[in-house]
Amino acid sequence: MIRIFVVLGRIFRSRRRERDLREELQYHLDRQAAGADAEERRRLAAQFGGVEPLVVEARQRGPRRWLDEAAQDLRHAVRSWARSPGLCLLILATLALGIGSTTSVFSILDGLVYRPLEVPRSGELLAVAQHVRGAARSTRDDATYVSEQEFQRYAAGSASAFQGLAAYMPSVPASLERADALKPLVGDLATCNYFRVLSARPELGRLLAPGDCAAGAPAVAVLSDAAWRKEFGADPSLVGRAIVLNRVPVAVIGVAPPGFWGTEVSATDFWAPVTLEPALMPEWNVLVDANTSWLALLGRLRQGVSPSQAQAALSLTSRQLDREEAHRRTTVSVSSPSLLASPQMRSKVLLAATVLLIAMGLVLLVACINVANLLLARGLGRQREWAVRMALGASRGRIVRQSLVETMVLALGGGAAGMLTSRIGGRGLIRLALAQMPPHAPFRVPLAADGRTLGFGVGVTLATAAVCCLLPALRSARGDVNPKLRDAGPGVSAGARAHRLRNALVAAQVAACMVLLLAAGVLFHSRLRMLDGNPGFRLGGIASITYDLAHAGYDGARAAGFQRQLRDRLLALPGVATVAAATTLPLGDRHDFTGFVAPDGRDLSVEDSEISPGFLPLLDIPLLRGRNFTAADFGARRLILSAAAAKRFFPEADAVGQSLRRGKQLWQIVGVAADAQVAELGVSDSNFVYLSESPDGQADLKMMVGLHAGATIPAGEVRATVHALDPQLPVEVAPLADNLQIWRLRSGLLSNLAGTLGMLAMLLAGTGLAGLLSCEVRARQREIGIRVALGAAPKQIAGHVAGQMRGPLGSGIVAGLALGAACFQVLSHVLYGVSPWDPATFLLMPLLLLAVVLFAAAAPLRRALRLDPVQVLRED
């Protein structure tokens, strides 16, 4: 704003200066003329040369000249674009879409990974991650979390660095008891200084205070503003009353302020003291377990303490912890907290976003090259205009600048439109992603533009402008005036340099297109494999019965009773042949990881599931060695390893008969089962371990029933059976094959996205090439006409015109193949049953691209063949 005033002031001042100058010169002229006669006066005036030239000269030295010319260029640019509105709109739309889509992806990345938490003085906050190796450890959620005991040690050891260090377990599922049903909520279990560290003030009542975490303190919770409004109609009298969470009465002590979202991507409904973990989550019971990672660490630095000083203080504690346990090696890392503070999640999201950004950048590149080619073609058409202006005395720099201004106006307009689209696009993308997630996961990403997104958008716009504009602008002023004036007729073809430039652009476009098509092809092939793939276990004729006793407040003994009764009653249902139970259903969305240590000290993190003896036979997973579980193994800590896990734990020896250590418990291996993709579709060699049923796992068990051949799933009867035992318990009955759907959905989303981008790039490249060829044909009408008149065969003409594209097309395809081969490793973990260098894709996709290019070239070529030599030559 201030700049505008400065410029205006300068213009105003220069106006006044001109007026002064005129008066001053007039005075001089009058004095000179005073003593002279008429003849002498005229002579003097002629010698003086008049007032105006001096004024003009003064003006050209002043700051206005630059402004004047810029304004002229702008006016000229707008006028010249107004003459071709179609082209202008096409370019604007292309740029807006390209810039908008890349910026919207970046704005999501920014909201998740880079934007500081929306709390007061967020610059002082520090997220702390712990990495433990060499010790047996269990993990809830994230391996970089700490246990409560470790938190106490870190807090005590780093008191000089932090005003406060808080710990919390994010995204704890809980069920709120309402009059009619159980309502699922998501909350955090936090240490009682959590709100003080985040500098939050209550909207109502009070927030957690140190007393709430004391031994024997009454059970309390703080509600989020959103949950308070949605679940309790913003009832102010709720504070002080009790609600029932997981069948435990908890007193509401306050409501968090409306803007306070907590520290996670998913919205938090309530915060309860970490000491309530045993009561709210009896089946976990991790509060007393010093070797389970379950709490995230977040601290507020003291004034003047740097993050590295804080890290040093924390490392002292971690080294102490190492001394207390054999083989343990711990490192501590710190980062400025955002919604995704955990290093694991961060790197996953960063990788995905980078791949997506690269793909979108390639589409943008293809679009930019189209624009550049359009502008180049337009520049060639205007060579005569430039030549005339240069002949009339315009400087070369002036002409380059003007054509730069012309294209910059477009690029910046496209960029501005793109920034607007990105706001809408970002929300759209999030909605799309949400549609792929479980419905009860509220999710938010702050998308408001900040410096980083703005900077990214401006950067993309400038890069776009550079690709689109600079080349054509430079071209426009190159070369001599004379030859251009002389033969800039429609018959002349562009110089060799323009050809080289254009060929390079075409090659780049084809290469970008090729990479995208290859990615789409590989993903699509993997999807085809997935649709008819065999996961290594039986899916047909099995129904899954899912319910969650843990969150319905069952303890181990009550859950065991429920499961026993349900098993017996299910077996009695018509059509049911067998019943099996497991804590993790095959390909379900729940994943438990545990650390096991082999006798030789080798430690591995494995995915595990407690299973009943009926589990393996029901799924047709064969036992390779040893025996299946029996009823006698209940609570006896027996293991069946998957073949892959057995090989990793005991590369040399036979696993059966050996034991693995988990924490202080020894688990004995009774069998080895064949590998099956029970954990993740497409991964058959994951370290999977089956545990014998235990009293602790009873609340987590779900059921599967195997049906007699030809029987349909007795969904109604199953539901009735469950409700006869617990009328309030939510239960889902579905074919086991439905679990495949989640995986298919993800692969579908990916292959659709890659396919869309690939098709878009192909479409853009196709239209661009067609446009380029038809320009070429038009520019060489006369030449073609003469050739036809001299008796050239149509085939020769077509070969001649199309032959020019052969070089760039070939090198583009080869470059695309090489690029794809070089960087498709990143796709390997989302592929199922297909190598990233899938031969079928690498063979078919270049052919597809060639076919599209040929199709695009057909129309202009036909036009070239149909040219009537007589008419063409007469036109000149």
């Binding site: 002064d20 100058l21 008066e23 001053e24 010169l25 005075y27 001089h28 009058d30 004095r31 000179q32 003086f48 040369g49 030239p53 001096l54 000269e57 003064a58 030295r61």
Partner: protein, 113 residues
């Protein structure tokens, strides 16, 4: 009036500054004064004078204000600033050295003992 002698490049600024040393003067007066002081040899053309004056003004060596002329008309008066005075001193010394040197080159025999 004979054909005016061309000024040595860059010497116009020095002449103007020197002319302004006694006090403020308008553009016409400066031209007349240079003409007179050079015994009617040098004639400053208007097309050179005013751009030079404005250049000196931009550099801060002279400042201008509107005043009343001898004939009761508004005229633009120029006067030296402190910086202009300093610059004049420096330039004058340099000019003396230069003309001395040129003199020695043109009449070397006078230097011989």
């Amino acid at each position: 009036m004979g054909k005016p002698t061309e000024l040595v490049q860059g010497s116009l600024d020095l002449l103007i500054l020197r002319t302004l040393q006694p006090g403020a003067m308008h553009g016409w007066g400066i031209a007349q004064r240079i003409h007179l002081l050079s015994r009617e040899v040098l004639q400053v053309r208007q097309g050179a004078l005013y751009p030079a004056l404005h250049r000196l003004e931009e550099r801060g060596w002279v400042r201008a204000h509107w005043g009343e002329s001898e004939q009761n008309r508004r005229a633009r008066y120029y006067e030296l600033t402190a910086a202009g005075r300093r610059h004049l001193g420096k330039e004058q010394a340099q000019w003396d050295r230069l003309t001395d040197a040129i003199g020695h080159v043109l009449r070397p025999q006078e230097d011989q003992p």
